[in-house]
Symmetry: C2
Subunit: 193 residues, 2 copies
């Protein structure tokens, strides 16, 4: 009955490539999104989680500070979305809770859910790049829950830049591939159905 | 440059009491909230995090499955709110991602922020007990960010029971004590101010 310890760890395939990725340069929004999508795709291929990838970049150098992938199905931890993992890794890598340095940008292969919008708020990240649209995520069966309709305006007021639809078709194709491959659509509240 | 591993661990004072707490019975909503508030208060006293405590209970037995406290200031991990920690511990303790068994209930010493509302959605918890109101949290200076105004209605539609204002004055007093004691109000986006 002693308390569990929960370790958030990147999958082996990503650890094997971690140094290579973090020493590479991703100069454009397009290049940064390509990495987030590649992480999502590799995460499916290796069956290490849901079809979502994310990375935190230093916009000045173009280098990633941290990368993350969805770990929900592999860990049973429902909050380990790609964005949460990437932000957690960025906090640890930089040794700081506040990621509001304007050089930092989060790229995510799909539009954040409500939880991840909140995580972005608390981390303080001031620029986000989004690939697939919320509709693309819901299209494969994920119940994204209730989201504030006006989250974009609220982020705007808070000074958080939102750049959407970067490589959307490619990002949506990864979601479709996950479903076609029989990937787990780990919705909440399945027990009551 | 190798990837960090992030371990979520309860503070020593809580580990020391963990078995005692988990083998106790909290039969009423009032008793469950008293535990969440006590955890918040002890977390301040031991300077191990923000003024927030939470626990997941088996409503049938009245025993806690898992407990959590806010770990943000002590870990630099912005997502480690009390609710997130308690839910993560519950996933680990039960070995399951889906917490939608109607016996399970989350008690939290203060109204969940947007991130935690999302975390509750994904965990699938179907009953939540809330102590302090969102206004009480904002009153001590926390920027809770943008929250859907109609989250209660959305939770209702999703079949999530929300019981509010349990021991609210006592829960709010813990928040006030944290501020009076000079506790860190770890808002997002401090760098830009």
């Amino acid at each position: 009955m002693s308390a569990p310890e929960i370790t958030i760890r990147l999958p082996d395939w990503l650890l094997a490539r971690h140094d290579e990725i973090l020493s590479s340069t991703y100069a454009s929004n397009d290049a940064r999104m390509a990495l987030a999508i590649e992480l999502a795709l590799e995460n499916i291929k290796h069956a290490t989680g849901g079809p979502f990838g994310a990375a935190v970049f230093d916009q000045k150098s173009g280098q990633p500070i941290a990368v993350g992938v969805n770990l929900v199905p592999s860990t049973g931890q429902s909050c380990l979305h790609g964005e949460v993992v990437a932000l957690a890794m960025a906090h640890a890598a930089l040794g700081q809770r506040d990621l509001s340095d304007p050089r930092l940008q989060l790229a995510t292969s799909a539009e954040p859910c409500t939880m991840c919008l909140g995580a972005i708020h608390w981390a303080g990240i001031r620029s986000i790049l989004i690939g697939a649209h919320d509709d693309d995520v819901r299209a494969i069966g994920f119940d994204e829950g209730h989201k504030p309709n006006d989250w974009r305006a609220a982020f705007g007021r808070a000074g958080i830049e939102v750049i959407e639809g970067v490589r959307r078709a490619e990002a949506a194709a990864v979601l479709q591939a996950y479903r076609a491959d029989g990937g787990e659509i780990y919705n909440a509240q399945q027990a009551k159905r």
